[in-house]
Symmetry: C2
Subunit: 195 residues, 2 copies
DNA sequence: AAACTGACAGATATTGACATCTGTCATCGC
DNA sequence: GCGATGACAGATGTCAATATCTGTCAGTTT
């Protein structure tokens, strides 16, 4: 008897297949073939193709989160942590878009039409940011009324650097300069009351 | 003899046709038909289809600019003007996306693959913003080193509210709240040195 | 001569017959 | 009984034949 078919194994096969063929070309039959089972079996673990695709993208988003968590509670001033965190977010996505374009396209497709999953992800990111900003307030670096609202504002204001809709611009030369400009302005805004 | 065929008349017919059929469906032959001429004549005024499409979108962008210029030099504090200007920019695009989706799609297509035209447009917008911010500095409302860099930062940070790539999000309920959050943060950043 | 036409070549889009895919479910084997 | 199967209907995708489009240009009209 072969190893039992689990949702986890399906997810792994789906991710491999998506990476190989891209979101437009992978079929449920392809995923089943990679597992050596009939496609009907895949439907035992996921209600439909969209759910499978979303689950793969969610897994990927969790991996992005995992890279960010350590920075949320790292050493150093809140300013430094905020800066590293934002850079890590941008860099991770940029790298992924370049190195793993097919999986990135899957994530982009998710972002475009499965808004809920993305909202949850953005909430998670905002939570981490709020934590850093909150620390900054305690340490006297920042002064904001509501750290969570400020976190959302920072995320929105840096959309261009992490939202997949802007991936095409990520290879342009002026991008880093643009980031510096936005960073400078946001930092002033957060620290505003302190000067 | 009928009225002479001018680039202007071609542009008008092209805009009407694009509005009717959308950027994906309008052909040069359609535009010529609307004018009652052969499609060869259209090529007397525009070197190719892309140039015609770009010219239509540029005309539209100039109309957006025309709505913004008055606000650049209006009465009131720089803060008020900045706020109205950003609102006008967002509102105009949002309205256009809703009321004239086919023309908006044309503009979006332009933004996606004719980057130069858009860069010029963004420079124009940044110029207006720099003017307002500059005034704010003179009047003691703002304190920034380089108004033009600050202007670019403000534009980038508000991408989500005026970039057509985000048009799908413009009908979501939380959008205005998000704008308020970003606005509050940017304003603090600009006014930072003043408190 | 300047403005326009329409036939043309090559590129792109549309069509419709056919193949594959998605999602369901009665049935099978362990 | 439980997980897996494979046949199935309807939806979606593919492909090659066909039609339309883009861009050019020699020729016509005014």
């Amino acid at each position: 008897m072969t190893e039992a078919l689990t949702a986890e194994r399906v997810l792994e096969a789906a991710e491999d297949t998506l990476r190989r063929f891209g979101p437009g070309k992978t079929t449920v039959v392809d995923v089943a073939r990679a597992l050596g089972v009939s496609h009907g079996s895949v439907y035992r673990h996921f209600p439909n193709k969209a759910a499978l695709r979303d689950a793969v993208a969610e897994r990927w988003l969790e991996r992005v989160n995992a890279r960010l968590w350590p920075l949320t509670t790292a050493d150093g001033s809140a300013t430094e942590r905020l800066r590293s965190w934002l850079e890590q977010l941008s860099t991770t996505k940029r790298l992924m878009a370049r190195e793993d374009p097919e999986l990135f396209a899957t994530y982009h497709a998710l972002a475009t039409d499965s808004r809920d999953v993305i909202r949850v992800h953005l909430d998670t990111l905002a939570g981490m940011l709020a934590r850093i900003i909150s620390d900054g307030v305690s340490q006297g670096e920042f002064e904001v009324e509501d750290p969570h609202r400020a976190a959302r504002a920072v995320l929105t204001a840096t959309t261009r650097f992490h939202n997949p809709a802007h991936a095409a611009e990520w290879e342009e030369p002026g991008l880093d300069a643009d980031f510096e400009e936005v960073w400078a302005l946001l930092l002033l805004g957060l620290a505003s009351g302190r000067r």
